[in-house]
């Protein structure tokens, strides 16, 4: 069963100053989110994870492929989008920026209700959303302003605003990146609890693999606009199969008492999405090419020239010539 799904989605932007130049921020992605599932979408900055999340929210219209919700392809007229956004809500990274400093907590949470015309029992709905987001007793927070709250409380208000409409899916972009270490766990626990108690699905965009380990069921790793590895979190992080995932996992701090891992530090920066390399898009930085493993397997030629097929969105899969 799939609730929200991306099929062959591509999002391209024109590049200024270069005629006909396009940046393929998302370059063919299949991704499925099941009801009650928490899916983490991870990768370095510039890999297209946020653009993909925005496409899945209907905020950008993909140049290729489709987004479907509950089996129906997303339509981009204003009324359909409005209906869609009651079901799929966004939680942004920086709660201080996401909240209007001159609106009270009550107004911030009620805004969505007003836009969608839910006028009956507004205080009750706001109170319920706040209390689900862990701000209890909710009435005590109604008349507070964002500056009177701590960072963790502000993020809870943002989450309450998303919950007020009783959505089925939450798309959260780096939900804890701007929060303090001790508060982080509380917000993640909240996302887990919302799933357990209300069956809420979540797509969590993050660069933090520790977060994926903490709360996600499945993990998709993106590199230069494509998903290069996807699968159950424990599988992907314990036994990463794609050389890129292996490198990402290798530089994570060791568990106390663990045998120290040999970190594979990739040199260079992720290349530019407006100049995606031919063949496997990771090959210029791939340690398996650098150390001759690909050559020995007789696959170095394929790595340099043959693009890999787009991975299916649901199962566990790897986009690497060496993993077959």
């Amino acid at each position: 069963m799939t609730l929200l799904s991306a099929q062959g989605v591509g999002v391209h932007f024109p590049v200024r100053g270069r005629r006909g130049g396009t940046a393929r921020a998302v370059d063919g992605v299949d991704l499925d989110l099941a009801p009650g599932e928490i899916l983490a979408l991870a990768g370095e900055s510039g890999c297209g994870k946020t653009t993909l999340a925005r496409a899945m929210l209907g905020l950008v219209r993909p140049n290729a492929g489709t987004i479907s919700y509950d089996g129906d392809p997303l339509r981009y007229d204003a009324a359909s989008l409005k209906r869609y956004r009651r079901q799929v809500q966004l939680v942004l990274q920086d709660p201080t920026g996401a909240l209007n400093p001159r609106h009270t907590v009550y107004e911030a949470v009620a805004e969505g209700l007003r836009i969608h015309g839910h006028t009956d029992d507004e205080p009750g709905r706001v109170a319920q959303a706040l209390s689900r987001a862990g701000l209890r007793p909710p009435e005590r927070f109604f008349l507070r302003y964002p500056h009177e709250l701590s960072g963790g409380q502000r993020q809870r208000v943002v989450i309450a605003g998303a919950l007020a409409l009783d959505p089925k899916v939450i798309i959260a972009d780096e939900p804890v990146a701007s929060l303090d270490a001790s508060v982080r766990g509380e917000i993640l626990a909240l996302l887990l609890r919302l799933r357990d108690e209300f069956g809420l699905s979540a797509l969590v965009v993050t660069h933090d693999l520790g977060l994926a380990w903490n709360i996600a069921d499945r993990l998709a790793i993106m590199y230069l606009g494509r998903v290069v590895e996807v699968g159950p979190v424990a599988e992907v992080l314990r036994e990463p199969r794609h050389p890129y995932t292996q490198a990402l996992v290798s530089v994570l701090p060791n568990a106390p008492g663990d045998e120290p891992r040999q970190p594979i530090v990739l040199s260079g920066e992720p290349p530019d999405v407006s100049r995606i390399p031919g063949g496997c898009r990771f090959h210029p930085r791939c340690p398996k090419i650098a150390d001759g493993t690909a050559e020995a397997a007789g696959l170095a030629g394929a790595c340099r020239t043959e693009d890999l097929p787009v991975l299916g969105g649901a199962d566990s899969a790897v986009a690497c010539h060496l993993v077959r």
């Binding site: 270490a181 693999l209 314990r238």
Partner: protein
């Protein structure tokens, strides 16, 4: 190399706000000390106080000795000579620390000329050498900051910090805003350069797991004080102070079954330095608090060989 005794920083504005409340630190040449803590715990005020970079509204007391020399009592001229040349700081936001309208090369040149570390005719060569050390090609000297990525800018900051061959480098959240892979590159670079040249390193971060894997020792700060201190991997693996335990748990180690689908956090919020609770400042958020905690503040005490922590639950057995 660096020795800090009873350092206190109090901001005067709307009343007195004690940000750092008596910190002792000791860093030897070639040693890497990590300072961990959340926002508001005073770790950045501490870093700034080490080189007297705080605004006038901050009252600093205690003792800071750099190579035996008293920093807090230094004349302003001497202080200028010490900054960059003896000790330098790498800040978090490289975009805001670099001048956007000057080329990278010129910005690296500035401290070199000011401190006359190299003869003017060799400055160019030195800039290229520094860029090479941090893994940037020489032609990058002609770039403007906006033409570089975040990781590259951070490396430029490190090149500047190393320009005058200081004995001490303070890195204040130097890698926090970077991607994991770039963070790994920058951390590897900092630690390698520090090791090769015997530079003492003070690394400040909220991420205890990063500090434990890059530093020799780590000090955990809470509400302006060090609450636990010891060898980095031991503090992270077997924290003695409940706050350290919470901080260590907040960054799960991938592969650790105990944290899988079980994010751990701390109830409550970091304390407001202007209104600290009585007794142990951590007591309102502590799950091991006893009655005594509400009234007695505990100083650092021996917790094990080479380790100290500030908690009533310690001390009984270790004296």
């Amino acid at each position: 190399m660096l020795s800090v005794r009873d350092l206190r920083v109090t901001y005067h504005g709307h009343g007195a706000v004690p940000a750092v409340r008596g910190v002792d630190l000791e860093v030897a040449g070639g040693q890497r000390l990590g300072i961990a803590g959340e926002s508001g715990c005073g770790k950045s005020s501490l870093a700034m106080a080490l080189l007297r970079l705080l605004p006038r509204s901050a009252e600093v007391s205690g003792e800071v000795r750099l190579d035996g020399e008293d920093v807090l009592g230094m004349s302003f001229g001497r202080l200028r000579a010490v900054r960059w040349a003896a000790a330098s700081i790498v800040f978090q936001g490289a975009m805001h620390s670099l001048n956007p309208v000057h080329r990278i090369g010129r910005q690296i040149t500035e401290p070199l000329l000011l401190h006359r570390t190299v003869p003017p005719d060799q400055v160019q060569t030195r800039v290229e050498e520094l860029l090479a050390q941090v893994g940037l090609p020489a032609w990058r000297a002609n770039s403007f900051p906006h033409e570089l990525s975040g990781g590259q800018r951070q490396r430029v900051m490190i090149a500047m910090a190393l320009a005058c061959e200081p004995n001490l480098v303070i890195a204040d959240e130097a890698t926090t805003a970077l991607d994991v892979m770039i963070q790994a590159q920058v951390l590897e670079l900092i630690t390698r350069l520090a090791r090769d040249r015997g530079i003492a390193l003070v690394m400040i971060s909220h991420d205890l797991s990063v500090l434990s894997s890059t530093c020799d020792r780590v000090a955990v700060m809470y509400a302006g004080r060090v609450v636990e201190e010891g060898p980095a991997h031991e503090v992270f693996a077997t924290p003695r102070h409940p706050y350290t335990a919470a901080l260590a748990g907040a960054f799960p180690t991938v592969g650790d079954e105990a944290s899988r689908l079980r994010p751990r956090g701390l109830g409550g919020d970091p304390p407001d330095p202007a209104h600290l609770p009585p007794g142990c400042p951590f007591q309102p958020r502590c799950d091991q608090a006893v009655e005594q905690c509400g009234s007695t503040d505990v100083a650092l005490r021996a917790a094990a060989a080479d380790r100290r922590a500030a908690c009533v639950h310690i001390g009984g057995e270790a004296g």
